[in-house]
């Protein structure tokens, strides 16, 4: 297998105290990499850095051996796509939401919206097809988060950066999402997933570890308060 994404000594600061954190790891093609580290250790921040939505202090990321600054920010994010934990819903119907990315030059330049594929993905994630003409703002939290995942998969990125994708889901929906996450990187060559989820550790996925550089500072243990929605997701195991 080939290296898809290489995270090379990325350092960044988190919180108001400016604690410095180091992350290193390699995502293989077809693989899933789990970001390991306790709550509050900067896992979400790391995903945002990988998507270039904020800058690191130091370090580089390579996509198939090419440094990230060889890409325009637009090209990079279209290829290495970050999906936030809190689903973003645009005004309009579910269909309008799924089509929204296809109004962007970076997406339309190489891909057309495929309605059959949209319906098929919705089905895989247990979203009934009649939702398609419903106002997306009226969806439940769990439906919204799956809609956001469908929308993301439809634009066919190479690397998916998923932040707690099952946190808001009931067990049935969560297992459908997990199945999709497990199958998606292998469906076509050149794909991979970087995941932030407690499920990753349980599934013994390879780690992209986040280390606290201030050795004297001991990272706080995982607290429920940090991840209120996580309780529901716990039901999956």
């Amino acid at each position: 297998m080939d290296k898809l994404l290489e995270v090379n000594n990325i350092t960044f600061s988190i919180g108001t105290g400016g604690r410095r954190v180091l992350a290193t790891g390699v995502l293989q093609e077809g693989g899933i990499l789990n970001v390991c580290g306790p709550s509050g250790s900067g896992k979400t921040t790391l995903l945002r850095i990988l998507a270039r939505l904020r800058g690191p202090d130091e370090g580089q990321v390579f996509l198939r051996g090419k440094g990230w600054h060889d890409f325009t920010p637009s090209r990079w994010r279209r290829t290495v796509h970050y999906l936030a934990q809190k689903p973003v819903i645009f005004d309009g119907t579910v269909l309008a939401n799924l089509k929204r990315p296809f109004e962007l030059a970076a997406v339309t330049s190489d891909l057309k919206f495929n309605p059959e594929k949209a319906l098929e993905l919705m089905k895989r994630l247990l979203l009934p097809p009649e939702l398609i003409n419903q106002d997306a703002r009226t969806l439940s939290g769990g439906e919204s988060s799956r809609l956001a995942l469908v929308r993301t998969i439809l634009v066919e990125p190479d690397v998916l950066l998923l932040d707690e994708p099952i946190a808001a889901l009931d067990p049935r929906a969560a297992s459908a999402v997990l199945r999709l996450i497990a199958e998606w990187p292998r469906e076509v060559g050149g794909r991979g997933v970087v995941l932030v989820s407690h499920i990753g550790e349980l599934a013994k996925l390879p780690c992209l570890s986040v280390l606290d550089l201030e050795a004297t500072e001991v990272l706080e243990p995982e607290t429920k308060k940090d991840n209120p929605a996580g309780k529901e997701g716990d039901g999956v195991e």
Partner: protein, 266 residues
């Protein structure tokens, strides 16, 4: 018909203080705590306007092009500063950008008005230029303050949406276009509304002034029409320039949303 201005004598002007005494009496009786501000405000009104009266008289007499230009620039600067104070939610307010937006829109529209439409002799007649530019500025100042405030307000409120679009590979413009549209609308709506109701709900100050000054209402109306349209144009141009310059400041050089936009708004 043209009877000219009915003059107000010094004695009669002093009598107008009675009106303030009434307001002061209400403030004292109800303990509104506004008495000091009222007295200070009254004094400032007398001093500032008397001063401006002398300045204008001097400027109108000299009527030097460069002096007029300097005054216009000064007015733009003061308007840009005043717009700052109306948008407390905008961090690191772009005063310079506001200044250039106001100057460009005002000069552009103002020149069309004084050179093409009114065209006095000479075209740089201070008596025409300064009130015209003042009216343009007063309105575009409000317009740009509203649109800038809305641009930042929308960006804070819709930071998640903007970032989601960026994550799909949107350019900053694609990601923020919705907020820019709302900001432009917010800046221009009051002006457009005033185009709808002018003359029905309110008689504009300028027209009222001309009529009090003894002008034929027909002439006053013609001026007012020009003024309304030039204000609409100046507000549109001013908002467009400022919002166009400003939206980029919400993003980093790497096309990411600035971190303060993702945080709580103080």
């Amino acid at each position: 018909m043209n009877s000219g201005v009915v003059p107000i004598s010094d004695f009669n002007l002093a009598l107008s203080v009675i009106l303030v005494v009434v307001a002061g009496g209400i403030s004292a009786a109800l303990r509104l705590g506004l008495l000091k501000a009222l007295i200070w405000g009254t004094a400032r009104t007398f001093i500032q306007l008397t001063f401006i009266g002398y300045v204008l008289k001097y400027v109108f007499t000299v009527n030097n092009l460069w002096m007029i230009f300097g005054i216009v620039v000064l007015m733009c600067y003061v308007a840009a500063r005043a717009a700052v104070k109306r948008t407390p939610g905008v961090p690191k307010y772009p005063v310079t950008l506001a200044f250039w937006s106001l100057l460009a829109s005002t000069v552009l529209v103002g020149l069309v008005v004084v050179r093409v439409i009114i065209n006095p002799a000479p075209w740089y007649t201070a008596r025409i230029i300064i009130p015209i530019f003042g009216m343009i500025l007063g309105n575009s100042m409000n317009g740009i303050a509203l649109s800038l405030d809305r641009l930042y307000g929308e960006s804070y409120a819709r930071a998640g949406e903007i970032e989601a679009l960026l994550a799909f590979g949107a350019t900053p413009w694609e990601a923020i276009r919705g907020c820019v549209v709302d900001a432009m609308r917010a800046g221009m709506t009051p002006t457009i509304n005033s185009l709808m109701v002018v003359g029905l709900v309110s008689l504009p100050g300028m027209m009222t002034g001309q009529i009090l000054g003894g002008a034929d209402p027909h002439e006053a109306v013609r001026y007012q029409i020009v003024v309304m349209l030039m204000i609409a144009a100046a507000v549109a141009i001013g908002c467009l320039l400022l919002v166009g310059f400003s939206y980029k400041r919400l993003f980093t050089a790497d096309w990411a949303l600035r971190s303060e936009i993702l945080q709580s708004r103080r």
